[in-house]
């Protein structure tokens, strides 16, 4: 049975429709779904074993390996979604950029002028990035039906940040200097990246991704006014062209508590929050019906497991149940995270998610 085309509406078959997708459609559900950013990764001993044999990019580029590591956290934990194991720089490498990982992406030659921008190619997503599509097709076969498969791409600004800086940076002065001093070249770069992102995300949906997340991890480098001028139009175009009925579009940024309204304006279905904003305050800034995702501090997984239900509950109550809420960390999980912390989190989200819905139902019953 293909879970994107449910064959009936009887109780039994409804259960095969993933919780994640039902929440995104704002249906009444039994509990809150969760997944964890970077859930396939170094905190898992089985992932570290794969990486002893294969370097990072080989894992991304080899469908069998990428499928295997994507499935690892699903075997261990009762997660409601599975995100493709890959890296945001994968499509940029296909554009011709010479990138190595050390461990973050480093460019042999940063892209800082018009000719360097013009030299970037437009890959054929289904062909040049066919290994990603094969991984997604594998995953749709291998994943349990109740687990939603999420595809993803880096957003143009975040990709541009790496391309222009040539690697990580503290102030991103090269990126912003290009943006402020050479806006035409900057926008040309953003447009080329946006075209590739659109092709890439559409191909992922064609290959079986049931939801997509755009990672604009570095958008938080910008003031809201600069985000509106330099980034928002490109993201709006991507959302417009990629969005497909029944395939939720999620938007993530880090340090983007000042940009939530602009993320909504981009047209996404779910706005992902880092842990630096209060969930209730953030929820009240976003229109009803638009969902939120988040937002536990990743390092809270280091706290004693018995403290987890209270932390989780505060977030669940802040999000409420009127509009969609996908539980997640506010940023990728740390490689030093204890497994018990993850187990406590998964249990707490599902237990407390059930409890707040039961309490709400009882309150209505008693009134």
């Amino acid at each position: 049975m293909n879970v994107t085309e449910p064959q009936g509406i009887s109780g039994v078959e409804e259960n095969l429709d993933p919780l994640f997708l039902r929440v995104c459609r704002n249906e009444a559900v039994e509990t809150t779904p969760l997944w964890i950013m970077r859930q396939a990764g170094r905190y898992l001993p089985e992932y570290r074993r794969v990486r002893e044999e294969h370097d990072f990019l080989t894992v991304c580029n080899t469908p069998d390996l990428a499928t295997e590591v994507t499935l690892q956290p699903i075997r261990r934990f009762d997660l409601d979604a599975s995100i493709l194991f890959s890296d945001i720089m994968v499509p940029v490498i296909a554009m011709g950029a010479d990138i190595t990982f050390a461990p973050g992406p480093v460019l042999a030659e940063p892209i800082r002028d018009e000719s360097a921008v013009r030299a970037l190619g437009r890959p054929d997503a289904a062909d040049d990035l066919g290994f990603v599509m094969e991984t997604l097709r594998n995953l749709r076969r291998e994943l349990p039906q109740h687990v939603t498969l999420i595809g993803f791409s880096g957003a143009p600004f975040t990709l541009a940040a790496y391309l222009v800086e040539g690697g990580a940076s503290k102030e991103f002065a090269s990126l912003k200097s290009l943006m402020f001093q050479e806006p035409v070249t900057f926008h040309l770069l953003m447009e080329k990246l946006a075209l590739v992102v659109v092709d890439y995300m559409k191909a992922q949906i064609d290959a079986g991704a049931q939801a997509v997340q755009l990672f604009d991890t570095w958008a938080g480098l910008l003031s809201p006014a600069d985000y509106r001028e330099y980034v928002l139009p490109h993201v709006q175009r991507i959302v417009e062209q990629v969005k497909r009925p029944g395939v939720p579009f999620l938007m993530y940024g880090n340090g983007t508590g000042g940009l939530l309204e602009l993320f909504e304006e981009a047209g996404v279905d779910i706005v992902s929050l880092d842990w630096r904003v209060d969930m209730a305050a953030a929820r009240s800034r976003i229109s009803p019906g638009i969902g939120v995702q988040g937002n536990l501090d990743p390092i809270a997984l280091f706290a004693p497991p018995e403290t987890m239900p209270l932390r989780v509950r505060n977030i669940l109550e802040g999000a409420g149940t009127e509009s969609p809420h996908i539980f997640n960390l506010g940023h990728g999980i740390s490689r030093h995270t204890p497994i018990e912390g993850v187990e406590a989190l998964v249990r707490a989200v599902h237990d407390e998610g059930r409890r707040i819905r039961r309490e709400a139902a009882d309150a209505i019953g008693n009134s």
Copy 2:
């Protein structure tokens, strides 16, 4: 004439009362005051010349050198305030921590258990940190009367971040692990730091500081709920004990757009904003009468100077003139900043600050 005790209220003598302090008292003023975080620093060739001869800590610890570099930006630019040249780790070194600069602070032995916390001493601020007080006394003699002298201290959480991590960090997992797993030890560390901060800030005011700023640069690592539980009580105690009539208390954090209400709850007079929040949105979250400071992106000083008035004006309009607004960058100035960018900023703030007040007066006159 001592500017903290104005001798009359005639027009002439009022002009000797610094613009910065008049704005903090929420008086009607002629324009918006500004200063720049890290305004004495590496972007100035005259600072780099001093540093060719003397290392960073020697400059901090030698009153003549610290006085000289503090005065350098005041000679070049029409700034309304001057901040003591020093480092937030200076009082922590006086507590007995073994710190070197490389260039950020690095601890020989990170402080991660109760015995290490107990070993930290409580310096006599006027004596052990007498060189700072001497610098402040020098500055009060040397500075033009219209320039307000600002003292400062690092806040306990930010100091604790360096002490526990032992240096810079990406995830601050050691710090947060101590906080979540050993809350008693964590609070003991925060209490010891808060005592020292109180002594230090009071001594600075005694030595002539006309305003003080608490730098909780790393507070943005925390969720609002964790800030409230682990940090706010300590900051409240500091503000309560340091605040003195006529001496504005400013609070700075980076990435703290989610904490603005909690900064106000701490009792400060002025909440400083980084550039990641929209000024008008931030202003609306803070009570009338409480001031705001900020919030230009430091890298906007790399933009063509002719674009500065518009950028500045957007911030001035967002802040309005009903409550105090001190113009500043949202974070310390970059060492690569072009001098022309700073000149354009200073001119734009004073010019546009005058213009919006004149326009407001004209609008009232015409209505």
